[in-house]
């Protein structure tokens, strides 16, 4: 069994697959991973897959509190050990049976660095103030992203509309991520560890791509010529 922590996107949010050996070491690795990418995990719905590990109700309760302190909501716990299942049931963390899990990621073949596979989330509506989209892959929005809305993606963010809200691409720390929009005027734009606010712009909006070039977050007009 692979002994590293794995995080992937599922229909209900994020799935953390803990290595099956030592519970406390696994928890430490999980919390450490969350602390390193706090922005990405904030507000996430987390499902935990603990495999064979034995976790008592107290263990799960403490973990839930530790996650809550990091603004991560523990949604459910999947485990094979009967004691774990019982503890999860007592805490109301047993998963409701639902649609089968999506097939495992293709990152075994080696997808884009940092972005597991080429998973993307397609959002076909306008994201209004207060809406939040967190996704461990690319995010594509067909609609506007209004001020007060927030997108956090491990991969790229593409908005076929006006981008006025807050967006963080490459939230796992990937500087290769890009953000494109038909009208790129976000409240705040982050790529990897870089952060920028939109300059006041007058005149006609045009499609632009934001990316990291020579360590600077820059926005470039989208042109059909000169693209690969």
């Amino acid at each position: 069994m692979d002994s590293t922590l794995e995080i992937k996107g599922i229909a209900d949010g994020l799935l953390a697959v803990l290595p099956a050996d030592d519970w406390s070491a696994s928890v430490e690795a999980l919390l450490d991973a969350i602390d390193r990418r706090a922005d990405f995990f904030r507000g996430a719905q987390l499902t935990l897959q603990v495999g064979e590990a034995e976790a008592r109700a107290g263990d799960l309760g403490r973990l839930r509190d530790a996650l809550a302190a990091r603004e991560v909501h523990l949604r459910a716990v999947r485990g094979d050990h009967p004691a774990t299942q019982e503890a999860a049931a007592n805490l109301g963390l047993l998963e409701q049976p639902r649609t089968p899990e999506p097939p495992p990621d293709v990152d075994a073949e080696g997808g884009a660095p940092g972005v597991e596979g080429e998973d993307s989330l397609f959002v076909q509506r306008t994201l209004r103030s207060g809406h939040k989209v967190h996704y461990p892959g690319h995010v594509v929005v067909l609609g506007d992203v209004n001020p007060g809305a927030e997108i956090v993606a491990a991969g790229n963010v593409i908005v076929w509309g006006r981008l006025r809200g807050t967006v963080h691409a490459g939230a796992g720390g990937e500087d290769t991520a890009v953000v494109c929009a038909l009208d790129l005027a976000p409240t705040q734009l982050r790529i990897g560890a870089h952060i920028a606010v939109s300059p006041d712009r007058r005149g006609k909006p045009r499609p632009e791509t934001a990316l990291i070039r020579d360590g600077q977050l820059v926005a470039e007009p989208w042109s059909i010529e000169g693209r690969r």
């Binding site: 994201l127 209004r128 103030s129 207060g130 506007d144 001020p147 007060g148 006006r162 006025r164």
Partner: protein, 268 residues
Amino acid sequence: MTAIAATLTSGKGGVGKTTATANIGVALAALGLRTVCLDADIGLRNLDVVMGLENRIVYDLVDVIEGRCKLRQALIKDKRLNDLYLLPAAQTRDKTAVSPQDMIRLVDELRTEFDWVLIDSPAGIERGFRNAIAPADIVLIVTNPEVSAVRDADRIIGLIEAEEKGPGKLIVNRMKADMVRRGEMLGTDDILEVLAIELVGIVPEDETIVVASNQGSPAALDGRSRAGRAFRQIAQRLTGEQVPFDELEAKDGFFGRLSRLVKSGGEA
């Protein structure tokens, strides 16, 4: 009769929900439609004051829901219009006294007797707001031409869409035409660009509203009030009539009008 229940809400406080509720209620009743205005702002009731009916309250919404009186006993008939009624909020309780299910039951009872049920929502997005939108067939979102009010309106639209009550219709209140013209205030186009929902009314900033509210005599009753006229038009649009939007006139005096005449002459 099966009433249409319309909830007026905004997210942000102070944009004119209560004033709009009272005025649209007056305007609908003046069209001969049986209308009840329901104050869902439990603990901070205002609608009775704006409608000038404060001194007639005996029972309130919470009394009805908790069975201390019959619905009919709590309804207050307007002193000017025969088809207008008020169901006041309780002042001594808070929003938790009522549940969304209570509101649905209450409004369903009102539906049989009225053409319109107008619900004045409290500010915020918490329990009081949930109570107010639960029975709504349509949601009227009131906003001001201010960035913060529009931001809150956008949040509200998102919430009512999530409740499958959306997307709602928009009322822009307290518009100052001269400030828009000088580029100092958001224009209707700027607001619609963000919110992208149907517009049912633009109400100009008008001092007669303040006087009318203080006197408990809604401006929609006053034939000379510009804001009152805008509210009457909103009522007509709600009933399905096609009413063109007024050109917003600024009070910029003779020279302002003259300069516009010259300008339009130049373009012709």
